[in-house]
């Protein structure tokens, strides 16, 4: 589902920021394409990690899990690197001429740290819903939520401080201020929810954490785009955007989005009809 969900943004980034995205893909070349085998290896290792044979041997379980995590960390970093190169057109010709395969710039570390650490509050919410029937782990999940929020907030501060002045002004100004505020408010909401949940996760607490997470994700997505828009010459893309906008099918897309969304909800609801697994 993660890969499938990623296809939609991948589709529209090619419409909105084509030259930058394609150029970064091409410049990084085989090094960028390595994310595909890394994803294949990572996902299959996760399946492998669930097998009885691997679970029985602790060293094997740790090794398999560590390699899988390594694959996903590499993929995440590659996206950060690709994005930073895509918004640096002045670096393209030199990068190509040098035959480089890695775009190592100081901006990569704080940016990747922020998005990497930002994944853990999402994990905490997911675990909270999945494990809400198991009180013994509630405290650990709440601590994961609070701890990762604190780490994410610190990474966000470092990222903001290391942004070029012009970009930071956009994030803190009219264009990005509202979205940054939404993201921070979402974070505060999550922190309150997890603080409430240390004694035990409740439905209300989880709903609060989920609402906060949604606000943070929405806010940070927009903040990220504000930075991108400050980096690219959007006026130069106007002609291509106008050309693409002439394509029909939007109405039909909305119809199928609703219909297929309903069928997806129906399919998920069928899981409830399953007879329970016998104990033991």
């Amino acid at each position: 589902m993660a890969i499938t969900a990623g296809v939609a943004p991948l589709l529209f980034v090619q419409i909105l920021y084509r030259e930058g995205f394609y150029t970064a893909n091409l410049l990084l070349g085989p090094r960028w394409m390595a994310i595909v085998p890394a994803l294949i290896i990572g996902f299959y290792l996760l399946y492998l990690a669930k097998t009885d044979r691997v679970r029985a041997a602790r060293w094997l379980a740790v090794t398999v899990s560590a390699v899988a995590v390594g694959c996903f960390v590499f993929v995440g970093y590659s996206f950060t690197e690709n994005h930073l190169l895509s918004v640096a057109p002045s670096a393209w010709a030199g990068f190509y001429g040098d035959g480089s395969i890695a775009y190592l710039v100081p901006a990569a570390a704080p940016r990747y740290a922020m998005f990497f650490l930002g994944a853990f509050p999402t994990l905490a919410v997911g675990l909270g819903w999945q494990l809400r029937g198991e009180p013994s782990v509630h405290r650990a999940v709440a601590h994961l939520g609070i701890g990762s929020l604190a780490a994410s907030a610190a990474a966000l501060a470092v990222w903001l401080l290391t942004l070029p002045d012009g970009h930071r002004d956009h994030v803190l100004g009219t264009a990005g201020g509202v979205w940054l505020g939404l993201a921070v408010a979402g974070g505060v909401l999550q922190a309150i929810a997890w603080a409430m949940s240390r004694g035990g996760i409740t439905r209300v607490g989880l709903l609060l954490a989920t609402a906060g997470l949604t606000a943070t994700l929405l806010g940070m997505t927009c903040v990220r785009e504000v930075v991108r828009l400050a980096s690219v010459d959007i006026a130069a893309m106007a002609q291509q955007h106008a050309h693409s906008a002439r394509s029909g099918g939007l109405l039909l897309f909305l119809v199928f989005l609703v219909v297929n969304g309903g069928l997806i909800a129906w399919a998920i609801a069928q899981a409830r009809k399953a007879t329970p697994v016998p104990p033991g």
Partner: protein, 465 residues
């Protein structure tokens, strides 16, 4: 749309078509297997609900709950990932082509994404909860999976077939004209039959690994192999496809291009063998598909898929979008302008290895090769410049390059000025001479004038067949 220069990679002796072809064939085979596998399983589930024999019902359930796990693992993970790989590979090989496909059809691609999401969810719910669900729900989920995956094919097929037969399509506003193009329906029906065939054959392989009595195994195989029956209409669908594709494309697969004819023969031959075995099974009741036979037929089906996909890609030459975009990412309307100003004059990307070349003229030739030729040719490897033009005399090269579209009907017109053409001639001869450290400049004004005359004579339009 303004011409955009992208950085171009060199894969040494490997042709870029081989890179995208390798990933593409693997992905298409996998994706069509996943669609057909879903259809066969829905059919078996329905079959299990109709039979009055509880043993058969139990066998089918056992099979579905075991086999489906393999199917979802393969199709969900590898199918989804090779799909992403296809996208990234397309960007590596021809960013302008994939960009054009998105410009024209991004909302249809987004529709396809909704169906793919439905396919994944329906499949996963069956995978995770199927064994504990009632029969009617199982059938509904498998039906949903099959329909969603088939519609995924429906949308992608329209976009792919548009590349070969765009018809009256002129731009993104003609989305439906382009989508329901001349080769849309024959291609869709043909692929649907291929999906059913792959699914049925794969089922036969897996059934042979089950620990059940011979008679029950034969019964399962016979039920699954019923879905090989639509293969009977494959020749008609193939003929329909050939009838609607452009005349020149048809002439290449029917003998005009030995390579394409051979690949078509592989596809037809392999499909015929599978079909003949399916027919034999219908008439000889004691004939069945053991694991060796069914595995061999799956391998033949892979060969047929590879041959078919090669032909489908090949018959588009010299275009990636017929009449709109040449294989080297230059539009027909840009040829005249590039001949006037030079094709690489505005290319911002330097050579990554300028010290390799003996002088600026050969360097210019290398840039022209990179921009105009390298998508289909290598320097000295597969389909290398030295192989296709190395034995020509200098005069022959100048004449043939300037009349490229007439020299070979599946080549685009040369899109540069006379200086660039001469530089490409010198680059090719330098390569053929084994890259000596010293190479004389070719700067005879009479030669330049002759090339200019030939370029005018050849015109900027596409050549004959």
């Amino acid at each position: 749309m303004e011409l955009t220069y992208f950085p171009i990679h060199d894969y040494g002796p490997v042709m870029k078509g081989m890179v995208i072809g390798g990933v593409g064939i693997f992905h298409v085979f996998l994706a069509q297997f996943a669609i057909g596998g879903g259809m066969v399983m829905a059919w078996l589930q329905w079959s299990a609900m109709r039979t009055k024999d509880p043993q058969v019902t139990a066998d089918i359930r056992t099979f579905l709950d075991g086999y489906f796990k393999i199917l979802v693992l393969v199709s969900f993970v590898l199918g989804a990932l090779t799909g992403v790989a296809m996208w990234f590979t397309s960007i590596q090989v021809s960013p302008r082509t994939i960009g054009s496909m998105l410009d024209a059809f991004h909302w249809l691609w987004a529709i396809e994404w909704t169906f793919f999401s439905l396919e994944i969810v329906a499949g996963y719910v069956f995978y995770r909860y199927g064994p504990r669900l009632p029969d009617a729900t199982r059938l509904a989920l498998l039906g949903l999976y099959s329909i969603a995956s088939w519609f995924s094919l429906f949308w992608i097929n329209g976009i792919l077939s548009w590349q070969l037969t765009p018809g009256a399509w002129q731009g993104p506003e003609d989305v439906w004209v382009g989508f329901f193009n001349a080769s849309f329906w024959p291609s869709l029906f043909f692929r649907t039959v291929v999906c059913l065939t792959l699914g049925a054959l794969a089922v036969c392989v897996v059934v042979n690994t089950m620990d059940v009595a011979e008679a029950r195994r034969r019964d399962l195989i016979r039920r699954a192999s019923t879905l090989l029956t639509p293969m009977a209409i494959m020749p008609a669908l193939g003929a329909w496809f050939l009838a609607v594709i452009p005349d020149d494309s048809r002439s290449w697969v029917l003998g005009g291009s030995p390579t394409m004819t051979n690949f078509l023969a592989i596809a037809v031959g392999a499909s015929t063998l599978i079909g003949l075995y399916a027919v034999a099974m219908r008439f000889r009741r004691n004939l069945t598909l053991n694991i060796a036979t069914s595995a061999l037929l799956v391998a033949l089906a892979f060969g047929a898929t590879a041959g078919g996909e090669f032909v489908r890609e090949g018959v588009r030459k010299p275009y990636t979008v017929r009449n709109h975009l040449y294989s080297n990412s230059i539009t027909p309307g840009e040829i005249a302008r590039l001949r006037a100003r030079g094709s690489v004059t505005a290319d911002p990307y330097p050579l990554s290895d300028p010290e390799r070349y003996p002088n600026d003229q050969v360097r210019l030739g290398a840039k022209v090769y990179r921009f105009q030729c390298s998508v289909c040719h290598t320097q000295t490897g597969v389909n290398g410049l030295t192989h296709v033009a190395g034995s020509w005399t200098s005069e022959q090269k100048r004449l043939n390059f300037s009349h490229l579209q007439q020299t070979r009907g599946f080549m685009p017109p040369f899109a540069g000025n006379a200086e660039e053409l001469e530089a490409l001639v010198q680059f090719t001869e330098w390569l053929a001479a084994d890259e000596p450290a010293q190479w004389p400049l070719s700067q005879d004004p009479a030669t330049t004038a002759q090339i200019e005359a030939w370029l005018v004579d050849s015109g900027t339009q596409r050549g004959g067949h």
